[in-house]
Symmetry: C2
Subunit: 197 residues, 2 copies
């Protein structure tokens, strides 16, 4: 009987290996050969699944996005308004090894996205989804009287997204300046500012 290959499972393993490799070595050193070795496959075994490294980067981004989304869903269960907004944002912030590794995948993705339209489009889709969710929790917080600032919602949501993306840079490039502690304090301070009328 021929060996049955579970192609979906193999695809998942390759993406996970790519994420680990990119986070550890950086994008330039993470060649297809290195990623194949990390996944435990022979060189060339990736080609049927990802014909270019850009395809693999796109899949790695989707993986990070889905993983972040699952954490957000779990972290906000039973929470509403400002507490949900805070829990949601904390899952994007690079506060631990997992999320710092995600940041080390996001930065190369942004770099490639500057010149590769389909990667930029993927990113914009993800950010639009984040914005919708942030707006949902913000509306709840307004309705509950927790957020009382007259600053427009649009500015708050845009500002949160911008700061959360910027934190991917500060936490990975300047770990001496920005730590889990300072990034959390900055988020809490910003949310605190929103509670004042």
């Amino acid at each position: 009987m021929p060996r049955v290959v579970d192609h979906d499972q193999r695809r998942v393993e390759i993406i996970a290996a790519a994420c680990r490799t990119i986070a550890r070595t950086g994008w330039d050193s993470a060649t297809m050969a290195v990623i194949a070795a990390e996944a435990g496959y022979a060189n060339g075994a990736l080609k049927p699944y990802f014909s270019t490294k850009d395809d693999l980067l796109a899949a790695a981004f989707d993986h990070v996005y889905a993983q972040t989304g699952r954490r957000m869903a779990a972290a906000t269960i039973g929470k509403h308004g400002l507490a949900a907004l805070r829990a949601y944002c904390r899952e994007i912030l690079p506060l631990n090894d997992t999320t710092r590794d995600e940041a080390r995948i996001l930065v190369p993705f942004w770099h490639k996205g500057l010149t590769t339209a389909h990667l930029a489009a993927r990113h914009e889709h993800a950010i639009r989804e984040f914005r919708t969710q942030l707006q949902h929790h913000l509306t709840e917080a307004r309705d509950a009287g927790q957020v009382r600032t007259p600053i427009p919602d649009h500015d708050i949501v845009g500002h949160l997204i911008t700061a959360l993306l910027g934190a991917q840079i500060t936490a990975t490039l300047m770990p001496h300046l920005e730590t889990a502690h300072t990034l959390t304090a900055q988020l809490d301070s910003f949310l605190n500012l929103l509670t004042h009328p």
Copy 2:
């Protein structure tokens, strides 16, 4: 008489050509040959000035940093406190063609900085200088009674830096979502929040 070459001038021209090329084509397509052609020199003419592309990227970053610093100095002349803080931040935000081009150099720089310690150190030095200046203007704004929030200065300065870096991503990767108008509105809204006790 042999032709006299002004090496400092040539170095400046090469850096300017590198910045234009990286901003236009992206980092990967901006080969030493393409940058030499942009500067009007023969292939190989860059080598005596920059032996590697990373050296050129470091010089391009220094150029952007110095250029931003000169704009900040000019924009804050005669301004104090919150007005100076606002003017200072606006020179980092990608609000026009010049600053959007700077953002397109910063993103590849961050990407390389993840795996190249001397580039990350250069970045941290620049950010520490920005933080010192932001703190200076914030202290003035506190002293003048313009900033009245009890949120710690450290959080405000850290948050501003993080948001300003994040704007380099949003403005270049998602120009449909974040424009000069929305980025300015977000900055003004944040500064407005700081004025409440």
